[in-house]
Symmetry: C2
Subunit: 332 residues, 2 copies
């Protein structure tokens, strides 16, 4: 049996291009005891994947050259030599970008398809939602009446953070990169105010105008000059969760900016970088809250779905151009 | 009755000079019920005072032009109309730089002179010691075997932080600005390793060499390029306490440097600015530990004492030239 796969052909210098990927056809291995044959349905593309394309130390190891890209995948069991999984089951795993693959039952989680659309397990009910939940609740510790600013607010994580912050009684300001996105954040997702950073000349002033009492919580997916503008308005005892720095991922030099420490010092600000796996022991609790909120309609979710396995590299590159509203997914 | 006082004559642009201060002779007010007449013994000079010379929002309000500088003072009661304090008592207060002054009993704390030299209440048993204690214990949460780097290690706070870290079983590396200071940190205060930043060409490499397992805790009194070098060696899940930024206090422009967020993000690092009063409710507990450690000889303290009330401005300026080992104090 043959399958398509997408491998890392070369490491990007600066912004990645389609040339950094290669589509191949290879043999599928023989299935052994404890394993299943899978066919991918939904493939997650995420900003953190850019970091794994570099050959540098980070919280996840780099992708290897000539080896398939890996990520979150929802797949269907076509054949099983596992006692735990049967043909037709829908599973979630960190899997290679292959149309078909053999995987061990140990690396797969069976999905309850009655709770929500299965793609949600890559998003609001998966790593994305848990990232939003723990970054906001455990690091930022929102209190009712506080002002929360979110950069990359129309991204998969941002849109969930904003809705959880509203549930906690906060005032929520979202920063995004198009009028379509900012409009959607207000009308569909209940954000109080929004800023289109692409059409705003003085971001520092724009944030000051929308946050007359200052910024108590900054959930940062973006970094760079947007963050400079938010931090210039930061309050005493504020909390900043560093979830992503998408504005800087394609930098070829070490980015330079105003030094943060004097501001963080004089205003007693906390800044915490994190990755969702830091909160692994609390995943069940986070999932429980997210599932309830989704079920009760308190959290809405949104996806940008590209069709066709071959579109995976293009969809990933699209993240860095802000082509997604909410979670970016490829449907095989 | 007349007294000398030192007022802020003008706000400094960049590094302060003696011209920014003015020595005056003024009348002492009449003593009223609930008040005492004080004569200053020891006057604290501290890096944070530089911030109060600017007209900018910070954790403490700016000094007023033509008004006395204020700071921690140990004084003797010369005359009392208070039921709580009697002539001869030794007190601590946030007081103006005056040789003699009238003060309300409400703003004074009587000192137990049997515990340690009275000047220690401006240092290891005062704000300095509490700053070291809470910055290290509550923010950095040291674990036995971890590597702790301290900038400004020979300063009043740094020298206490290092000794508390040693009590917690950590490996302690101190950064200071002279061979005399680094030698003293090792031989007198039990630091494991030290770096003289003034004679070290490649700080990043020097820290890497002394911290083969990376930096778990960075207690930062200094900021600027020294911090860049330490943070380049920071570990996953490290904690950075921002206690001071003395390298930047005299900057006239917003200091620029490498952006920190990518490093803090990919290594799940916490950075927390603080001021000791954030931990006000826990002062009694911190004081108890510090007093025990001083009594048991587990923490040694060191002071640089300048003689003469008129020397206060010179002593303050000396802090920015690194003229002090340990706590800088002026004895009237």
């Amino acid at each position: 049996m043959k399958t398509k796969q997408i491998v890392l052909a070369s490491r990007p210098k600066g912004s990645p291009t389609l040339d950094n990927f290669r589509l191949e056809t290879v043999d599928v291995a023989q299935i052994k005891d404890g394993e299943v044959l899978l066919e991918g349905i939904y493939y997650s593309v995420d900003p953190y994947m850019r970091g794994r394309m570099n050959d540098t130390k980070s919280y996840t190891p780099p992708f290897d050259i000539d080896q398939p890209i890996q990520g979150g995948v929802i797949a269907k069991v076509l054949e099983s030599k596992s006692d735990k999984l049967k043909t037709g089951d829908i599973v979630l795993g960190m899997l290679p970008w292959k149309e078909k693959d053999i995987a061990s039952e140990k690396n797969l989680k069976k999905i309850d398809t009655s709770v929500a659309p299965v793609s949600y397990y890559l998003g609001v009910l998966g790593m994305t939602g848990l990232t939003a939940y723990f970054g906001l609740m455990n690091i930022c510790k929102p209190k009712s009446g506080e002002t929360v600013v979110i950069s990359g607010a129309a991204g998969a994580v941002g849109v969930v953070v904003g809705q959880i912050a509203k549930i906690q009684g906060c005032r929520v300001i979202g920063i995004a990169g198009s009028d379509e996105k900012t409009k959607s954040l207000k009308t569909e997702f209940g954000f109080d105010e929004t800023i289109n950073y692409k059409t705003t000349k003085d971001m520092k002033q724009a944030i000051a105008a929308l946050c007359p009492k200052g910024v108590d919580i900054y959930f940062d997916n973006v970094g760079g000059e947007i963050s400079d503008a938010v931090i210039a308005n930061i309050n005493f005892n504020a909390r900043i969760a560093l979830c992503g720095q998408i504005a800087l991922y394609n930098s070829t030099e070490i980015p330079v900016g105003p030094r943060l420490q004097p501001m963080l010092l004089t205003r007693s600000v906390l800044m915490q970088g994190f990755i969702v796996s830091n909160f692994q022991n609390e995943f069940p609790e986070g999932f429980k809250h997210l599932a309830e909120w989704v079920k009760d309609g308190k959290i809405k979710f949104t996806e940008t779905i590209e069709n066709g396995f071959d579109q995976l590299p293009k969809a990933l590159l699209g993240l860095f151009k802000g082509e997604n509203m909410g979670k970016m997914i490829v449907k095989a």
